[in-house]
């Protein structure tokens, strides 16, 4: 990826890409990225390093979550996410995709917390 550091525009639409390399964020001069019509489920966290990124098109993929790192792409003017599998509460989902163990623990912790509360309620006179 580092050898492409001068790249400003990348269009890989209509392919069968399932994931981007983790060091995608090394392409710090990218301003336009078109990933339309591929098979992406997530974007790498490093996308947040693309401070010059203005246009990001990820329509017609299989995104189930959007990395919160997108929030640091502060030059973004167009964000096209049409036709994916996104839901509102997907920060948690994002964690569960990338860190299934974490999500499992979190789930257990929540369950445990609820049963603790229920126990406490029962214990009350």
């Amino acid at each position: 990826m580092r050898s492409l550091k001068q790249l400003q525009s990348l269009d890989v639409a209509e392919n069968k890409i399932t994931c981007l390399p983790d060091d995608f964020g090394e392409l710090i001069n990218l301003t336009d990225v078109t990933l339309s019509q591929n098979c992406l489920e997530v974007l790498p966290h490093s996308v947040g390093r693309l401070k010059k990124l203005s246009i990001l098109k990820v329509d017609k993929n299989r995104l189930i979550a959007l990395t919160p790192a997108v929030g640091t792409c502060t030059s973004l003017t167009e964000l096209i996410l049409t036709d994916n599998l996104l839901q509102v509460s997907f920060e948690y989902m994002y964690m569960s995709v990338l860190f299934p163990t974490f999500a499992w623990r979190l789930g257990v912790a929540q369950l445990f917390g609820q049963s603790e509360k229920a126990n406490r309620a029962q214990r009350r006179p």
Partner: protein, 135 residues
């Protein structure tokens, strides 16, 4: 959407159409420069009153949802040129739609409308309007 999207203050155009997202993520209401928002086919049952905060919006698309009404705050979107809410479940439109003085295109086809609100001075710039009435 991740909450962090509110940090992308330069966002002009966001399209979330055709996702099972069901409602507008709260973080979007903080995008103070947004001019175009696509919310077609997201299984949305209501448009929150907060939509009125997006005063820079010029185009709002919310076709193919389950909307029964528009919030009165829609009238605050003074820059809106295009409003597409076709294929929903509207029986009426709010009178505030008459406040959209820059509206050029209004699409409310394929709904349950049997009348239109009384609009006295507004909608002066309409050039294209599609309304189908219930039979």
């Amino acid at each position: 959407m991740p909450d962090s999207i509110k940090q992308c203050k330069h966002l002009l155009y966001v399209d979330l159409s055709s996702n099972p997202i069901t409602r507008i993520p709260d973080s979007l209401f903080q995008l103070s420069n947004l001019t175009s928002l696509g919310l077609n086919d997201i299984s949305m049952t209501s448009l929150p009153n907060d939509i009125g905060q997006l005063v820079t919006l010029e185009a709002l698309e919310a076709r193919e949802n389950l909307l029964r009404s528009l919030p009165s705050s829609i009238g605050q979107l003074k820059k809106l040129k295009r409003l597409d809410v076709g294929s929903n479940e509207f029986e009426t439109l709010p009178i505030e739609i008459g406040c959209l003085e820059n509206l050029q295109e209004l699409y409310v086809d394929c709904n349950e409308l049997d009348s239109l609100p009384q609009v006295r001075d507004g909608l002066a710039k309409i050039v294209d309007c599609i309304i189908f009435f219930r039979r």
